[in-house]
């Protein structure tokens, strides 16, 4: 079995949390491997999750590498596989193979200030980095998290974000003002410009909808961030996860192998086909 790169392991859903409701709902699933299986992963890596009969989807591993008992995934309900995930219950068994892709060079960032900028479902891929940084708080400088959703109901990981406060500077935002919302109102890039984090000795890590990333990168550069200080992830369509099926191909890269994490310095040289 180990030889078969397309054969998933089995994992049981141990816990489900509804993060965000509505048409594009997000749920977080905690998966525990069956039959003593498992794998180690690094921050930013992904896994192919399957529901048999429906198919597979590439999903970022949203739990930190140091958590060994389970792997966590936050899945937005958008189509065939993801919608099926949203109908599962605790105890159901799904398929999982991985880990796939490269990872954030967290160790190389020791001693630096970290600025995280996420939007929508884009908090999931960078969450393990935030968790790791917080777990090794002493190893890093200032940690700032910018995160925004369309409305207060679209903010994922709300309770966890609250818990971070103290260790981390958290700046939340919503697109449109709503009653009871006391934090920033406007798009994430605007919030970023409002707070103006310093580029000195800093690394910016951003993840979210493509359009948001585009503006965030522009703004970061305005703030003085160099291209090699900016990291992001790209989500191209993927089927195999092992650099063969050709779908995620951008330029010479198979994103499932060379990505999804990119330093802007490298990414800007690739065709913008993502």
């Amino acid at each position: 079995m180990g030889d078969n790169i397309y054969l998933p392991q089995l994992a049981r859903i141990a816990h489900i949390k509804e993060e965000v409701g509505g048409e594009r709902a997000i749920k977080t699933f905690r998966l525990e491997f069956e039959n003593g299986g498992g794998f180690e992963h690094a921050c930013g890596q992904c896994a192919m999750l399957s529901i048999f009969g429906r198919g597979e989807s590439m999903i970022s591993i949203a739990s930190a590498p140091h958590i060994k008992d389970y792997k966590q995934f936050s899945i937005m309900r958008v189509g065939r596989v993801t919608a099926a995930f949203h109908e599962l219950a605790v105890g159901d068994v799904v398929g999982i193979r991985g880990p796939y892709g490269n990872s954030f060079p967290v160790d190389a960032w020791r001693g630096k200030n970290l600025v995280f900028i996420g939007g929508g479902c884009g908090l999931a891929p960078i969450w393990p980095v935030i968790q790791t940084a917080v777990a090794q708080r002493g190893n890093f400088g200032e940690i700032t998290v910018f995160y925004g959703g369309r409305s207060p109901r679209d903010i994922m990981y709300q309770a966890e974000l609250e818990k971070l406060r103290g260790a981390v500077d958290v700046h939340l935002s919503v697109d449109k003002q709503e009653e009871g919302w006391n934090a920033f109102c406007g798009f994430v890039p605007a919030n970023l410009m409002d707070k103006e984090p310093s580029p000195d000795n800093a690394i910016a890590i951003t993840c979210g909808p493509p359009i948001m990333i585009k503006y965030v990168i522009e703004n970061l550069r305005q703030l003085g961030f160099k291209d090699n200080q900016i990291y992001t992830t790209i989500e191209n369509k993927m089927k195999c996860g092992v650099g063969k099926c050709g779908r995620c191909n951008v330029g010479k890269d198979y994103v499932c192998v060379k990505g999804p994490v990119y330093c802007w310095d490298d990414l800007k040289g690739l065709p913008a086909e993502y």
């Binding site: 078969n4 397309y6 198919g55 189509g79 493509p210 063969k244 099926c245 086909e273």
Partner: protein, 343 residues
């Protein structure tokens, strides 16, 4: 190992290949394609419509079956390719050159067990070209040759009534040895004849990519050229050029359900192509390559640039299928030449 095989002994040789299933080109319904070799196989074919890539990378491959009774864990049963050694006769050198390229793809990064399982039991007996199979051939310009042995186990050269057989690999040698007395020793005159035939074949005029070595860089520079959309104007976005290409390898993975109580089905891999609009389309409808031009660019760039950047060689072997079979006559040679020439 070099030897001479009388053409009339070809079928006996095939019959002597104990433990091998042999395939050879046959004309059926007006289409040349690889079929189980008949008792009177003759290698008198132009290049086949489909390359032999399906032997190692079939259009449909079952990965595993699944079954799940409600409330229970799914049961997965992997499906392995059926064992059995297969030998493919009559492979033209351009298709032979595709073999190492496919090998690279499927072994790169992690090894694809399905491809490997089929490939390791597969042998190719090639047939050198005396003249271009069609005016669309351009193997020479992409580093190949009508007599190339790359990727082949045996290369046959037609010497009129006889074949000159050259074992390229150990497997090839074994195949020839299995023919035993059917093969005669090749003498100097035959060697000479073969050399001449090869030289004549290589000397045949061919059109081609103007400067293959410069193509990767040229395509990089021409990435944003408006020519792509213009050249793709007539393209209908079908899968012919890629499905028939000996080195195109993109695929899709799908679950095919055959029963719901209990849930039953299989996960299968099927060929896919960058020329289909859904290939890269996200759930949101966003499509990173949403125009015919961008998809043509992907195909051509993959062959002439990205593959080169990754593996140091061009992926295109110049077989000309994508040109001759394209419903609207889009010509990869022209495309490369024009884009490269425009910068």
């Amino acid at each position: 190992m070099e030897a001479i095989l009388d053409k009339k002994n070809l079928n006996d040789w095939i019959a002597a290949l104990d433990g091998w299933d042999a395939y050879a080109p046959a004309l059926e319904d007006g289409v040349w394609s690889y079929r189980p070799a008949s008792a009177n196989a003759a290698l008198a074919h132009p290049n086949t419509v489909q390359p032999p890539k399906g032997f190692a990378f079939p259009q449909r491959e079952i990965f595993f079956r699944f079954e799940q009774i409600k409330g229970e864990a799914p049961r997965l049963t992997p499906v392995q390719p059926e064992p059995g050694r297969r030998v493919v006769f009559g492979v033209r050198p351009c298709d032979g050159r595709a073999v190492p390229r496919m090998d690279r793809v499927f072994a790169d990064h992690v090894d694809d067990g399905y491809y490997r399982a089929r490939r390791k039991d597969l042998a190719y007996v090639g047939l050198a070209c005396h003249k271009p199979q069609s005016r669309h051939c351009f193997c020479k310009s992409v580093g190949g040759s009508p007599v190339s042995t790359e990727g082949l186990d045996v290369l046959l050269t037609d010497l009129g009534e006889r074949y000159f057989a050259l074992a390229v690999t150990d497997v090839g040698k074994a195949l020839m040895q299995a023919g035993g007395a059917l093969f005669a020793k090749a003498g100097a005159s035959e060697r000479k004849a073969v050399e001449q035939a090869h030289a004549a074949a290589v000397a045949q005029p061919q059109r081609g990519v103007a400067d293959a070595a410069a193509a990767p860089a040229a395509l990089k520079a021409g990435f944003d050229s408006p020519l792509w959309e213009e050249l793709a104007q007539g393209c209908i976005g079908c899968g012919i050029c890629t499905f028939l290409c000996p080195t195109c390898h993109c695929f899709d993975i799908n679950d095919e359900v055959t029963g719901a109580a209990p849930l039953k089905g299989q996960r299968v891999r099927t060929w896919d192509t960058c020329q289909f609009p859904d290939f890269t389309m996200h759930s949101s409808g966003h499509n990173p390559r949403d125009t015919l031009g961008s998809r043509l660019r992907q195909r051509v760039s993959h062959k002439f640039r990205y593959f080169h950047e990754n593996f140091g060689m061009l992926q295109c072997t110049g077989c000309g299928r994508c040109v001759s079979q394209c419903p609207v006559g889009i010509d990869i040679v022209q495309v490369v030449n024009r884009v490269a020439g425009s910068i």
